[in-house]
Each structure stands twice: as C-alpha cells, then as structure tokens.
Amino acid sequence: MPRAGRRSSGRRRPRRSEPTPRRRLHLAALALVAASFALGLGAGRWVAALDRLVVERFEGRLFRVPSRVYSAPTILYPGLDVRRVELRETLDRLGYRREPTASDLAPGGYVWGRSRVRIHLRPFEHPTRPEPARDIEIRLVGSRIEAIRSAGGESELGAVLLEPQVVGAYYGPDREQRELVRLEDVPQTLVDAILAVEDQRFAEHHGIDWRRIGGAFWVNLRSGSIRQGGSTLTQQLVKNFFLTPERTLRRKAQEAVMAVLLEARYEKRAILESYLNEIYLGQRGSTAIHGVGEAARFYFGKPVGSLSAADSALLAAIISSPGASSPFRNPERARERRDLVLALMHRQGRIDDATLEEARAGELVLASRTREPREARYFLDALRRQIPEVYDADALTSEGLRIHSTLDVRLQQAATRALREGLAELEKRMPSLRSDEPTRALQGCLLALRPQTGEVLALVGGREYSVSQFDRCTQARRPAGSVFKPFVYVAALEPRGKDAPFVTLASRLDDAPLTVATPVGDWAPANYDHEFHGEVSVREAIERSLNVATARLAQQVGIERVVRMARRLGIESPLPGVPSLAIGTADLAPIELARAYATLANGGVRPEIRTFEDVVDPAQGTLARRAIAFERVLDPGVAYLAVSLLEGVVERGTARGLRAAGLAGPVAAKTGTSDEERDAWFVGFTPELVAVVWVGFDEPRSLGLPASHAALPIWLRFVKEATGGRARGAFVPPPTVVRADVDPESGALALTGCPRRVPEFFLQGTEPARSCPEGGFFARDRQRDLPGHERRGIIDRLFDRWLRGNAL
C-alpha cells in the first residue's frame, strides 16, 4: 500500500514556469518594500536611539562645573602699606583691568596714580557676606593708605574687602572650567553677535539650515577646500555634547538627525542657553575655558551681564578659532575680527550706526591675563580631605560649588618660594643631597597657621606637586626629634592639683649619664654633641636642646603625663609611652606640631584646624560651614612659661640664627633633628603666625645637617617675607606670671649680695624661696615685696571673698 505513496513521492515535479515580467515586477516591489521596511526599521531604531541619547543628556546634568576654591579676601584699611599686600599684583591676579583714566570706570577696572588709586570693585556673591560693586578711591602717602572713601563721596570707609581670589578648582578629567549663565543674564548684544556670526537664521530653522549648507557648499566648491561650515548652533551643540570631532559622513548624519530631534523636543531658548554655556572659548594653561560666563571673566574681568557691544563682538569673533584669535596672543587679529563681527551685526540690523561707531572706536580693553594658580594644589588636596564626605570627588568636579578657604595667597606664594629656593640652596651647598631622580629628591614641607583661629594660611606639602602629590605636611609622620621636647617641659611646669609644679624655669636639671631600664633593654640617651653638661637650668636645657637633661626630666615627671600633655596640646598620632618619647622618637605629622605650638602661642587655647569657612552652592545656599572653634587646654601662665622658654631658644639657643639673620620682634621657636639627621624640623611662631618646616627624604637617609642649617633657613625665608622682617605684637605674661631675678648658677633668688642675676618668669607662688649662697640677706622680707606676691594677695583675698559670697 505504501507503494502508491512511494510512487507519489518519487514522481517528478512539474517544471516551474519562468516568471513573467509582471511577476518579476511584483517580486521586485515586494523586495523593495521588505528592504524599505527593514531600512525603516533600522533607521527608526537608530533615530530612537539617538533620541534617547538626546533626552537623557539634555534632561540630565548638562554640564560638569568644577567647584572653585577661593582664598580669604584681602582687606584694605587706612594705615596699611599697600606693598605689604601687593595690592597692584593682587588686582592683576584678580583680573582687574588697568585703565588710563578714571572716567566711566566700570566694575573690574582700576587706575593707579602716584598718590591715589581708584578701584571699581566688582560685586561678590555670597549668601551671608555679599559685597556690592563699589567705586572707591584710596589716598596714599608713599605706599601707605591714608584714607579710603567712595569715589565722589566724602565719608571715609574704615575697611574695604577685595573679592577673594580663585586659588584652584576641582576639575574632572576633561579640565573644563565654566561659569554657568542663564539666558536672561546674557546681554542681547552678545546673543546678537554670536547669531550674526554663527547662525543667522537660528530663529527660523529646525536644526539644519539648508540655505547655509548650500552656501557653504558653493564657497567650498569654488575654493577647492573646506573654508566655510554650514552647521547651525544646534548642530554645533550636538557635536560638542554627543559626538566626536571626526569628519565622517556617518557622524554628519548623526549630527543632523540629532539637531532636528533636539529642535523638535526643546525650545530655542533652552538650546541657545546650552550653547552659550558649552562653547569653547580659549585656554588658561591646561584648563579649557567653556561658555560665555567664564570667557567674560577670563578676557574682560567682568560678569557676562556687563559686556559691552565691543566685548560681545570680540567674544563672537573668538569662537571659530579661540587660539589664533585670542586677544591675549594676537590682539591685532582679534581686533580685526571683532570689527568684522561688528560690521556683520550692523549689516544684519542687529546694532545701529552709533553703537557700531562707538564699539569700533574702542581699543581692546582686556583683563590682566591670569594664569592658572598652581601654588595651592597641596592645600586643595588637604581641603578636600577636610570638607564633609558628602562632597565626594564627583560632587566637587561637577556641581560648581564655591568653597571659601582660609588660604592667604600672599603667604602661600611666599611659602612656595621659601621651600623651593631653600631646598635648592641646600642642594647647592651639599651636593650629596642632590638626586637625579625627581621622585627621590630632597623633600620638604611648610605649613603656616593662625594660632588664634587655627586657620591654615599656607601649605606646601612637597617640592613639586607634579612629581609627588603626597602631602608631607598633613599625610606624613616622621620622627619629631627635639621639637617634641617642649611638651615635656610644659608637662613639668604645670602645677598638679594643689601641688607645686614639678619644675620652674629656674630649676636645675642634671645633664649627666642616664640609663633607663626598659622591657627591651637599657636605654641611655646621648646629647647631639655626645657630651654631658652637668647641672643646667631648665631654660638652658631647652635652649641647648639637651637630650639627657630632658629625658631625665621626663622620667621624673612621668612619661604618661608627658603623653597626656601632648594630647591636650593637639597631638593625635600614636605616642608610645617609652622613655625615648621625651626626645622625640614618636612619628608626628607637621600639622599636629603646628597645632600644638599654636596652642602655646595662643595662651593655652587650642584651635581646631580650619582650611575653609564655608561651602556654597551655585544657588547661593550655604551647604557646609566650619566655624572657628577652640578650647582652653592649658593655664595661660604655663603656656606663657613655655613661650618664654622658646623665645630663649631664639635669643640664645639653637635658633639664634634667626636673630643673626635680622628677624626682629617677638619670635619663639624650636629646632628638631631626628636620629642620624634624617629629619630636620623647625617649628616657630610669632604672636600671629605659627609655621612648621620639615626637610628630609621620602625614603629616609641622612641629611648630614642639623635642623638649624636645614630647616631654619627655610622658615626664616618664609617668616621674613610674611612679616616684612619684624613680627608684630608681643608675648605678654598674664597676671598669674611674675618676674623675679634669679642667680643663674643656683636657680635661687638673686637678692642683695648676689653677684649674678638674670630675670626669670614664675607662676605666682612658685618663685624660689631661698636666696643665692652669697646673698640671702633680707631674703624673707624682700620676697614679700615682689610684685607678684603683692598682687596675689589681693587676688586671693578678693577671690576668697567672692567664693565665700557665692557659696561655691
């Protein structure tokens, strides 16, 4: 039965007939339809993908705006020497324009005369301390400000703030800087100038201007090269936002489609605003200037809203070739192109005759060319570590925050110079310190604080940021050497409860061989000169930085007490409670030492370190604030005694080189050299400034120099420039400290009959009770006559009465 089936399957198929022409046509049409469908499907998917791209980008974060960091403002006041604040240089750094005359002085301009300086200060925006634009006149006598008044006004101004300087920014990988502007803040002349040059029919086309493309095609055809582009603003925006700069047909097609999509989805105003913020307009060092807001500041030192017709035309002229047409690099060419733009604007009816003539007649008036600040990069890193964690790298590089820092630009520059030149000089003097490898070079760091407020005024964390970003001031911990010793002395000088202090400044210490048993064996400290000096006063021990006497004192006081004192003063690093801690074997960070010494300089009030005042968002809301904070951790009298000891180090001790080099005024300091001279430290302060210098190698090796030769000269170079060679103010003893003459050999009171006497400071009631061996006559009576005793009596009586009266 299946045979039939087999037969059936085995039969020959009928031969197909050849398709007729009509059938062929049908098939071709069908294929075409299918192909069109497939093509349409592909194109549709492609367009949909491009549309998604457009929407995602345009409705997401359009621009990454780096957050800027501002310095502390410069304050001008009558009596100030303008050379001290480098006023003219500061104005130039701020991008102020120097004008020949004061007539019609616009914000951001200044006129420098022999006895008068006129400055039209720019406004500065801040949520709590905005500064209005202010036209001021400064009257000078020599270089000193005699008076400041509003231009044309009579009333004198007590103090005037110059706007803070931008000291850096947190860039993303593209290093683009821009100041976002809203379209309503952009002057119409600038919009007109850009449209006149870049897209005359912007208001009419739908993303692609066929007439312009045709015109450009014709021009290029005739010239045989590409001389004119046909892109609209929308296409340019698309190209910059979404595409690569390659010149391929595929990219051009993408650009055209996306331009149409953009126009279909968004209003012309939104597209124009984005363009104005996106357009590339030049270069400041390695940073790209994008957008008209940033460019207005960069080229003219003005906010965009203050641009004149001439300024606007110049900016529009720059767009096509910001490098070649830069008014800084090629002013003649820039001016020619500006005039061409003005003519074009006039021809298109965008400006009238009068505006054309006025704008053409004007010279190019540019801001001072500001270079990218580079000195503060270690500081910026330190600041980034201090601001709240919520402001991560992404936020800082994209949200356009304004961070108002504590940095003093002048001091930062001085610190940078001092460290760079100081290290170079060391290498010159000691060729063995040189290294051919930059990463193994001699290193150093310099940090300056304001002791009263803990504000970081200058920070240079290394020799060259581009070689090493490791900040040796805040991230490195190195053996502190003798700069730790003051903490031992402060611990010893502080009274313990009702007990007397362990020592006074006149106490005698034994600088004789010492052996301390430790769990790892005996420890026997030696002095730097490998000698012992017998009995010395406390003052002498620290002035000569004697290790043995200090170690013995620490043993008597108790290492734990020394550790607690260091903690109170602001040391946070681990402090091993071993005998050698006293002479600085603990690894400390320079910033900790700066803070601890600041506490002494500040009368026992410990400041919190502060690198910024506040963080402000682009809408002028304060996001974070770091208020001044400090805490009393030490009696002012004890703090003063420590200061007095460290003043002695400068007058007679290891830091006397400061005086020999001409530094005048109140200065207290301490040198520190670690084992094998691997680290050289110098920590010193005036009443207004604490600075710490560290010098050494990242991979420790001997410097072959003590701190007084390695670190002191750098500190001196810096502080001399910071103070003008004379420190201001004074270290004044508080009322709880009295002065009495003592016999320098015995430490006893030097009363009548004593052949030797030196003045010394004591906490009230701790003066020596006995007189020197040769004297002593009337000692008991005379002691009562000491001014401190008299005053103490009054205080005690009053205070006792007050306590009793208040039942405390």
Partner: protein
C-alpha cells in the same frame, strides 16, 4: 564642666577679679565699658579691625545676626590678636543658638586682655557677665547667678537686666 575647665575658670575669674581690683574698682561699680571708647586704640590694623567689630555690633543691634557674623570674622582675619573681636563674638554667640561656643571666645578675649595688662572693671564685668549668660543657658544656675551678680556689682547700669545688648557693648 571638666575639672580642668572648672580649674581654668576659677583661675581666670580670680585673675579677672584681681585685675578689676587693681584697676580701682569702687564699691559702687565702675563706668560701663563700650567698644567705641577703644576704637582709636592700637595700630592701624587693630583700629580697622575694631571698626569692623563696631559695624558688626550695629548689625547685631539691628537684629541682623547673619550680617554681623561675617563682619566679626573679617575683623578677626584682620587682627587675630584684637581682644574686642572675641568679646563681641562671645556676646553674639551667647545670644545665639550655641551659647556654649561663646566660652572659648571669652577665654581668648580674657587671655589677650590679660596680655595687655590690667583689665578695666567695666570690661571685667562684661567677661564675667557673658560667662554667666552662657552658664545660665546651660542650666548651671548657681554659678551663673554668682557671675551675673558680680557683673552687676561691677557694672550695674549694664548688667542690671543680666544681659548685654549689642548697643550696650557698642
């Protein structure tokens, strides 16, 4: 308050009272102290700093504390050794949301004033009184009362209401 803090406070108060005594305090109190009296004291920097403090006090008097604070901060930046800045800041903070932060300001003002010699009774009254205001805000009534009573004794016209208005300090 820690033992150290209490000890420091007592020492500071002893010194203050002592200074006031040496400064010629009479039994009926001293003339009230105003910052405008010392506006021309010191070098140019201090004078400019004090002028900013006076502007800050004006802003505080006009109930614009947000405007006052930056003026005090600038005054501090200009001359961090000017005790009057700390005194005005202490008053500002004692009246503000975080009175406790006024205490270190008072310490600082006192330390700087002591470094300049005797503290006039009128100034001592403000230092003691403001400390009392802060302690009152912190619930330490006994100590606060004692300090405010002493301030009133030293400067009755200002401290009779146990407050220091910006205008009274100006």
């Amino acid at each position: 308050m820690s033992v150290l803090g209490r000890g420091s406070l007592l020492l500071a108060l002893a010194a203050l009272v002592g200074c006031a005594a040496v400064g010629g305090l009479g039994p009926r109190g001293a003339e009230p102290f105003r910052l405008s009296e010392v506006a021309e004291e010191g070098d140019a920097r201090q004078r400019a700093s004090t002028r900013l403090v006076l502007d800050g006090l004006d802003a505080d008097a006009a109930l614009q504390p947000a405007a006052a604070l930056p003026l005090y901060e600038r005054a501090l930046q200009l001359d961090p050794t000017n005790p009057w800045v700390y005194l005005a800041l202490a008053r500002h903070q004692a009246e503000g949301e975080a009175p406790h932060s006024a205490l270190p300001m008072l310490d600082q003002a006192q330390a700087l004033l002591q470094g300049r010699g005797e503290i006039a009774p009128g100034v001592a009254a403000h230092l003691l009184g403001l400390r009392g205001v802060v302690l009152r805000a912190e619930g330490e009534q006994d100590e606060s009362m004692a300090l405010l009573r002493r301030a009133r004794e030293l400067s009755p016209t200002v401290w009779s209401d146990a407050r220091l208005e910006a205008q009274e300090l100006r």
